[in-house]
């Protein structure tokens, strides 16, 4: 921007009103009758598809077609709940199937939102900005990420589709019976006409209903009428298969005649192979081929263990353009230097932080690179033959996987079929920011001419992740006589998404939040909650420092600056009250608090910690209050918050990917350690249904986790953790 300054408005998740977007969704299908016919034709004889995502068969069964991947976040159940609620379906007759990776099932509400000018969830923006994801292709989005499933696909898709389908069924019954639709009621997958006592199942009406145009703006049920959404009686569809070993993940794909590949990248990110010695490997049992991909090499064999063993016998020389000299210290030094020298861009620049008066408080923070460490290492099975390509994998973005496979196979996307599976962890890793697992697997399969399953070792998975960025963040504030900041100045070294992540909810009149885009050769990607993961740690730690400098209670200090953010204040107060903030803690323990909004949801945590005999902090309890607007599946919300807290604890306590000689050092557990059962605190979750627009739930529990813990550590020890992870510090409880 010419001025180099821009002011961000708070992100709006609604586009004007729900009607426009709701209309957009249904019109997405209804206004494209050919597309709807295509889908119907593909499912011919399998029942009728009404309003896009709902299939009803004559036996009265309802199948909700979910255009999102299941990676444990519960979307395969929450979205059918939303559709079934509006449809007035009998939940016992409802099942789901995941939509195939086809444009017809693309994430229309996301695409619509983009086309009509609202911001896409920012996590998606860098992806569609890539050369081969033009804006025109935004309609092809079929992505699970950015905590979008329920609040976009669910709100503007499933609810509208369910209500529209219900209207179609009612109209069909009205026509058949020659009565007014207004005199009909629906309940548990039946239409009733009270006056005549007639009833008909949805299944018996569906053929007639499918001839009726869907209403793009059907009336939605009031919350008080809900019998499925918001209840605790619904069990997730995917769980039984996950307790008896039958759930199929990408790594479980089986293709007739399949070979196995083990893969290794050039050790320095971005490096290129200059020579390869594969003679010894080729002579080993079962080895079929050694593939040189330039950036990586792979051994293809009849058994995975043979491929992996032979891979160790391959020798390469490589060229890394000087990156082989870079280590973590050099990377952070570069960030600090570029923060001082590169031209700043601004998230916000209001008032005059330099001219503002007050007592100057400064602090510098940093976080390291973090790996995703999905439990299922990256893998992909591919088969390229006769001008077509099939891919079996677990992906958060089947259409992007399709494009990546098409490019790697040298085919058009129409000739690529992606068979998506359960994801053994996603967390942003399986969004294909760098197309780093589907594309190589397709290249290997193409070179081999047979179906090949390529499996990354844990070490390869960890050393060639697309990491959460390492970032340095510097703060300066000026405290007035009342102890409150007159100025908030923040400078940081990396900017991705979402744009608003560094913004604070607190009323500070002079604010300047600016950044540079510092780079290293380490590959980066979205990591659960994206930029929120680092910025909540930075901002909620620094505001805690200000409270201390002001001699104020950290909770009261925050509340005193939240007059214009009543939802934040309410969430904070709720967490604090439930945690017993005002009644104090037992000797040897202390509490810390943090609040942060992300993906439309506001979360506050109060963490209670002590210091163990080993000098390491122990988290005894985390009390959480979450305002996500409305609770669709309350049990799953609690589950996701527990999950995000524990994922956040792993990052806060242990998470650190370091670089030496240009290479990532950490390759496996426990070198890159995880929170385990013994480390897990008691977690209490309080859901606040404020009635605000639906927020996401897969990510928002994470950002306030680290600062709540480190603020508690400060309260107990007087030691301020300004650079994660916590395990690099030594603490003593007697401050």
């Amino acid at each position: 921007m010419a001025s180099g300054k821009k002011k961000l408005t708070r992100r709006k998740f609604l586009i004007g009103s729900g009607v426009v977007v709701g209309g957009g969704l249904v019109l997405g299908y209804a206004a494209l009758p050919n597309q709807l016919k295509d889908i119907a034709a593909r499912h011919k004889g399998e029942g009728q598809i009404l309003s896009g995502w709902i299939k009803i068969t004559p036996d009265n069964k309802v199948t909700v077609i979910v255009p999102h991947a299941e990676m444990g976040q519960g979307t395969h159940t929450a979205l059918p709940m939303m559709a079934a609620e509006e449809l007035d379906a009998d939940w016992d007759l409802v099942s789901m199937e995941e939509a195939p990776g086809l444009p017809e099932f693309a994430n229309q509400p996301l695409g619509e939102g983009f086309i009509v000018g609202d911001k896409l969830p920012d996590i998606l923006a860098p992806l569609i900005n890539k050369a081969f994801y033009s804006i025109a292709q935004a309609m092809d989005l079929q992505i699970t990420g950015g905590s979008t499933s329920v609040r976009f696909t669910g709100q503007y898709g499933m609810r509208v589709a369910g209500a529209a389908a219900r209207e179609m069924l009612v109209k069909a019954a009205a026509r058949e019976w020659g009565v007014s639709a207004n005199d009909l009621t629906t309940e548990k997958s039946f239409v009733h006409h009270k006056a005549s006592g007639r009833s008909a199942s949805y299944g018996s009406l569906v053929e007639a209903a499918s001839a009726i145009d869907p209403n793009p703006t059907p009336a939605l049920k009031p919350k008080s009428a809900h019998t499925i959404v918001g209840t605790r009686t619904i069990k997730r569809f995917d769980i039984p298969g996950k307790v008896n070993g039958t759930a199929k993940y990408g790594i479980d794909a089986e293709v007739e005649g399949m070979l196995y590949a083990a893969i290794a990248r050039v050790p320095v990110h971005g490096g290129t192979i200059t020579s390869i010695n594969d003679g010894a490997a080729l002579a080993m049992p079962g080895v079929k081929k050694v593939c040189n991909l330039g950036y990586a090499y792979a051994v293809v064999a009849d058994k995975y263990w043979r491929a992996k063993t032979a891979l160790e016998a391959v020798e390469i020389d490589f060229e890394a353009g000087g990156n082989e000299l870079v280590d973590s210290d050099a990377i952070f030094a570069r960030f600090n230097q570029e923060l001082a020298t590169l031209e700043l861009e601004y998230d916000i620049d209001e008032g005059d932080v330099e001219a503002a008066e007050g007592r100057l408080i400064e602090a510098d923070y940093a976080v390291p690179y973090l790996a995703h460490a999905c439990m299922e290492p990256m893998n992909c099975t591919a088969w390229v033959r006769d001008g077509v390509c099939d891919v079996w994998t677990g992906t958060q973005a089947p259409l992007m996987a399709r494009t990546a496979a098409a490019v790697a196979a040298g085919l058009e996307p129409e000739n690529v079929t992606v068979h998506n599976h359960m994801l053994g962890g996603g967390f942003g890793r399986r969004i294909h920011a760098e197309n780093d697992y589907v594309a190589p697997a397709v290249e290997i399969a193409k070179m081999t001419g047979q179906p090949v399953k390529t499996i990354w070792t844990r070490e390869e998975d960890m050393r060639f992740d697309e990491y959460r960025p390492a970032v340095v963040s510097r703060f300066a504030a000026k405290l007035g006589d009342d102890g409150k900041p007159n100025a908030w100045k923040n400078r940081f070294s990396d900017k991705r998404e979402p744009a608003e992540a560094p913004l604070i909810p607190y009323g500070v009149s002079n604010q300047s939040i600016g950044f540079v885009r510092s780079q290293s050769h380490i590959k980066l990607g979205p990591w659960r909650s994206v930029d929120h993961s680092q910025h909540a740690f930075f901002t909620e730690s620094f505001v805690d420092e200000l409270a201390y400098e002001a001699g104020a209670d950290p909770l009261e200090y925050r509340l005193s600056m939240l007059a214009d953010a009543p939802r934040h204040a309410h969430v904070l107060k709720t967490a604090a009250e439930k945690a017993g903030w005002y009644s104090g803690v037992r000797a040897g323990r202390a509490m810390g608090v943090a609040v942060h909004e992300s993906f439309g949801t506001i979360v506050a945590h109060v963490a209670e910690v002590s210091i163990g005999d080993d000098g390491m902090p122990r988290v005894h309890k985390v009390t959480c209050a979450v305002d996500c607007g409305e609770a669709i599946n309350p049990d799953n919300i609690e589950s996701q918050i527990e999950s995000a807290i524990i994922y956040g604890m792993t990052g806060a306590f242990f998470g650190e990917i370091t670089v030496q000689d240009g290479q990532v050092v950490e390759g496996n557990f426990p070198e890159y350690e995880m929170v385990r059962l013994a480390d897990v605190p008691e977690i209490e979750v309080y859901i606040i249904e404020s009635g605000a627009p639906l927020g996401g739930i897969g990510e928002p529990g994470l950002p306030p986790t680290a600062p709540a813990i480190t603020n508690a550590i400060f309260a107990l020890t007087g030691q301020r953790v300004r650079k994660l992870p916590i395990r690099n510090y030594e603490f003593s409880a007697s401050a």
């Binding site: 990676m71 298969g241 070993g245 439990m375 070792t457 844990r458 557990f669 059962l677």
Partner: protein, 154 residues
């Protein structure tokens, strides 16, 4: 080389290198895909099976040492279409998220509770060191407690 194994009550023969980890034999030679590859160094527990009833991480266990041992995988824990009380507790408490670690979790917990019907929290912490990246741990503990109390009541 040929090796004779007993898996889920059946005799099976496989022809693989002697150092092949049992994990890959179970998955790819015998089709027990419920046994999961997580780390390859016995640090995460996703590959946990029972060997003569003891929870064992199969990813570093060479097939040549697995003969004459009764091996049980997640597939062999209950009769088809049935769930053990541990599996049922996992469903009741809605434990799994991504679910990838849960075969190993269920196997580790099943072995623990067979050996020690009333473990303390410390016993549970010491025995269940499997990694769950989704953080289903609070529910794992709840489900374990549920099984303990139900077995105690029976």
């Amino acid at each position: 080389m040929e090796f004779s194994l007993r898996v889920n009550g059946e005799a099976r023969t496989v022809d693989v290198e002697p150092d092949t980890p049992l994990l890959w034999v179970l998955r790819d030679e015998l089709g027990f895909k419920g046994v999961k590859f997580g780390c390859g160094v016995a640090a995460c527990g996703a590959c946990t099976v029972h060997m003569d009833g003891t929870a064992t991480r199969s990813c570093i266990f060479p097939v040549e040492a697995a003969e004459d041992i009764e091996i049980t995988t997640i597939e062999g824990l209950a009769d088809e279409g049935m769930f053990t009380d541990v599996q049922q507790a996992w469903i009741d408490e809605q434990v799994p998220q991504c679910g990838y670690c849960q075969s190993g979790m269920v196997m580790a917990v099943s072995a623990l509770l067979d050996e020690n019907p009333s473990p303390t929290d410390q016993d549970i912490n010491d025995a269940i060191t499997n990694v769950c990246r989704c953080g289903s741990y609070p529910r794992i503990r709840k489900a374990i407690r549920k099984v303990i109390s139900e077995r105690g009541a029976a």
